[in-house]
Symmetry: C2
Subunit: 592 residues, 2 copies
């Protein structure tokens, strides 16, 4: 596998030339003093070193070593211990945590870059700090002052790690039917009992204590999702100074043997009357996780992006080095018995598809990160309101489209290696296996699509679409006669029309056909993804032209590639959406 090199210049280009995030920060009191462009550069340069030198070198061996379970104890790959300790000591576990509790407090537009680098380096490793970040945010937003004071500093310092315990053996997507129970105790705590599965980092030997955030039902809970409460359940109880006292009644029953992310411990967790504390209000556990979920889902999307970037770097190095066959006459190297893979059109098609998806995905994640920052920090109520709407709409797209294109990209990256791509030592097949989970967990991509089209678009009667459509249309209006991009702007304008058209159509059809939305949701999400990437590619191309530096020529060329080779996919998507539920619901159960 090629050494991983963080795409730092592309990140700087996006942050400062395309999205001008530092201008935003200046308008935000919480960030204005701590963040500026130079600080951002310095932080990301350090983050790149962490990813490149501390994390990436372990990923291949860690995949082989995996995690092991023995009598309830779980061991992670040996190299992870030193890496995690260094990460914690550098403050990188608490990178997004509230500075009041020792966190770095980075805005998401910036931490998204750090997360991408960590995922390129090693998704499995990234999950230990990643889940901890999610727990920190939830606790920070909804925990009592007492819980926050006790747990947040230790989590932010990476002394303890966190988990999210949602799924149970009989249910993952449908959290309304969970069975884990919470019974109030006399001291204000609760006794938690039940079994949770697929718990990432549920048990491991990286740190001395693990803090579980657990969904459970109180005795008086109403049925369904409105009867779910959230509890904090530590592996070890601790005294006021944080010294561990006794082991809590929570244990790891087994770990899963999985397709990929072998070095991430995926645990069955048994709660046998374990002591826990309520986080947020009773029966409002799902709501307490909502804010965190937008960040986490973007984070999972970034996993797709990170693996795609790594796969691209490997494939590009291989394509420049490996010689097979002869290219077109003008490109032939007569000093060698064959030409490099790079001269072949189909290799270029695969590499450029990866490049267009990866740089487009990086732009998308930065864009959504900017919206999350505005939603959280903006002083202007209208700016905040619009950002909230954009976050609601774009988060499921970020999660699903970045991971679907992430899988496609890693498949291309593996294919470029031919038979060697199928062999473990080259690392390309690991990236396929590792990225595949990102389409499944944190809400499957089908669920993301339902969230987008059902809850967000149709649920708001189309209102949530408005800020996006306005943004896209304003961009086209401003650049319609741009001398370099007339053709692409027209294509984008037509694509926006298609998106708006099918949206209206679905709104209408959904009123009379209960199955219309769930029949077309995935294609709709993909359509929105391609349209947004088209917009972002032209934003990048125009910013690159404006900057005028030679290395940015490649942005302009890749934008052209995107419009001729990838954007046309929307035609098939639009047709499938227009067909609605037709073809899907004529089948009786025994006719499949």
């Amino acid at each position: 596998m090629a050494d991983y090199r963080a795409p730092r210049s592309d990140m700087d280009f996006l942050l400062h030339d395309v999205f001008q995030v530092a201008d935003d920060w200046q308008q935000m009191p919480a960030l204005a003093e701590m963040m500026d462009a130079d600080t951002a550069t310095a932080i990301l340069d350090e983050a790149a070193k962490v990813a490149e030198n501390l994390v990436a070198p372990n990923s291949r061996a860690a995949d082989e070593e995996g995690v092991t379970w023995e009598q309830g104890a779980v061991s992670v790959p040996k190299a992870y211990h030193g890496a995690f300790k260094a990460l914690a000591e550098g403050g990188w576990v608490g990178v997004t945590a509230n500075p009041d509790f020792g966190g770095m407090g980075l805005p998401k537009s910036l931490s998204a870059q750090y997360e991408e680098m960590l995922c390129s380096a090693d998704i499995a490793f990234s999950l230990y700090p990643g889940l901890t970040s999610g727990a920190i945010m939830t606790l920070d937003l909804h925990g009592s002052d007492e819980l926050k004071a006790h747990y947040l500093p230790r989590l932010a310092a990476g002394e303890w790690t966190g988990t999210m315990c949602l799924t149970e053996p009989h249910t993952g997507t449908d959290l309304g039917i969970i069975r884990t129970k919470a019974v109030p105790a006399d001291d204000g705590s609760y006794q938690i009992s039940g079994t949770k599965i697929f718990i990432t980092g549920g048990e491991h030997d990286l740190v001395e204590n693990i803090v579980h955030l657990v969904l459970a039902k109180l005795p008086d809970a109403p049925a369904g999702t409105k009867g779910i409460s959230l509890f904090l359940v530590p592996k070890f109880l601790s005294d006021e100074q944080g010294n561990l006292t006794e082991r809590n009644a929570v244990s790891c029953g087994s770990i899963e043997h999985k397709m990929g992310i072998h070095a991430s411990a995926t645990c069955v967790m048994n709660f046998d009357g374990a002591k826990g504390w309520l986080v947020g209000e009773p029966h409002k556990g799902l709501k307490a996780m909502f804010t965190m979920m937008n960040y986490e889902r973007l984070g999972v999307g970034i996993q797709g992006l990170g693996t795609a970037e790594r796969s691209y770097q490997n494939a590009l190095e291989y394509a420049k080095d490996r010689r097979q066959g002869r290219g077109a006459k003008a490109t032939q190297d007569h000093n060698a018995e064959a030409d490099t893979l790079l001269v072949h059109g189909d290799i270029r098609r695969m590499l450029l598809t990866m490049k267009a998806f990866t740089e487009g995905g990086r732009a998308f994640s930065t864009w959504v990160g900017q919206q999350l920052d505005r939603a959280k920090y903006a002083q202007d109520a209208e700016v905040q309101r619009r950002a909230d709407a954009m976050v609601a709409l774009l988060t499921p797209v970020a999660k699903a489209f970045l991971t679907d294109t992430g899988l496609e990209s890693t498949i291309h990256g593996q294919q470029i290696f031919g038979g060697h791509g199928y062999v473990r030592e080259w690392g390309q097949e690991q990236l396929v296996r590792d990225t595949r989970i990102a389409q499944i967990y944190e809400g499957t991509n089908g669920i993301q699509a339902l969230d987008l089209l059902g809850r967000k678009v149709v649920g708001s009667q189309g209102q949530l679409l408005t800020p996006l459509l306005e943004t896209l249309r304003a961009f086209v209006a401003e650049n319609r006669n741009h001398k370099t991009w007339v053709t692409e702007m027209a294509t984008l304008a037509a694509a926006i029309d298609s998106l708006e058209g099918v949206s209206k159509d679905v709104l209408q059809k959904a009123a009379t056909d209960e199955n219309w939305i769930n029949s077309v949701a995935v294609e709709y999400l993909h359509l929105m993804g391609y349209v947004c990437y088209g917009y972002l590619w032209l934003r990048m191309a125009i910013a690159a032209e404006a900057k005028g530096s030679t290395p940015l020529q490649t942005k302009i060329k890749t934008a052209r590639f995107y419009f001729v080779k990838l954007m046309p996919r929307i035609h098939g998507l639009v047709a499938a959406i227009q067909a609605g539920s037709r073809g899907l619901f004529e089948f009786e159960d025994d006719e499949f």
Copy 2:
């Protein structure tokens, strides 16, 4: 994992109601006496039992057990020993072998069904008899009488197995630059020296002897692919009675650790002056493998089909059993706290996509099988000529389109399981890992696409397309006003126009742009795949209507699904093909 059940009734429907292969057999002296519809049914019923009871139950454990290498010896999973012995004793290793040498001599239209069942049951296992079949065919067509008499009966009986040794460390696709050498010895044999990699079944402990067919260069070989010769190199030399005498100088240096097909031994083979015999004429080794390659490539396509079928069966059972969320009001089951997955539109979309690709793929493989049989056995020279053209054109499509849609299908089948699809014990992720290799080996799918568009379509100045276009157009002409299928026939007619239109366009553009073909080949192959599947779905639907039995209603419904949800993908493909090499060749090497 659900028990595998061979789709026997669909196979019978295709063979007898759609393609009427028994009518063909009656016209073929070599088959007329041995094969009829009843015999075919009896053979496939037995084959189904072999796949279901003997092979399928081992696949999950064999994936975990894998193959091991120790000091040159390779051990396969324990359960494979008994299964292979039973397979050999039942005559299933020599299922397509010449009856003169103890084979069953099945036509390909029939053996394609057997192969599919074996691949559904366990691809890794299927490769041991599969590679042996390829070696048998090559030897039968090009070996000397002496070599045939000595080796064929033992290979057909499954007493010995065969390999194909092509790839070398520095080259896979580009066989013109292989370095393995063959030096003539005084006794008419040759001394073979060199290293071959990715040799499936190169070493194992299933049988006492292994017969390698090895590409190598004679001392006077011209450069490139016209200087390659083919040699038979056994692991053990043997006396006239076939008793093993001495070990030949060929050894297994190591095995690959791979993404999937863990139970298939993928070997590095070292030839150190090993004794071998020329097969066919000097310098015509690649030509000697041509006929075999058409069969093998269809066989690899069938691997994609087989895994997709298995994944579909598992996913369907899970979707009927697993309850998550609520369906549309009319479909809700109020006796349960949630509805089955089967009520959800997106689950149906994934299941029906799998079903449409799988049954469409089975139709395609049977169709190509029928063409191979006509090419081999037909008495009428014109029938044979047309069949030859169809085989040349459709073989790369069978290999690449069935495996590309096979991957997509197994990904859907894994996704339907949610998190459980990522866990090894359910078997869905294994099918993804196993099927992935089929897109890579036996010529990557990119190479298949170049073969189709470059060598076949443009290479024949479009002539090879004629029989296909005529077949498609005759079908549309005959059924244009079919009362049930007017809309779909019009869609198919337009798709055929598109295929012909872009073909003409490429022919023209390729004359002036050397990179046009290799820039659009993959999309072109996919376009042809979707058009052919559209044709086959309508043939099946019309045959099903004609037969009028209730279970065949599902054929009609699936055909409708295919036309509204999958056929529209051609719009994006056509646009990408029309763009040609634009967007791909503007990049300098350092701009990627």
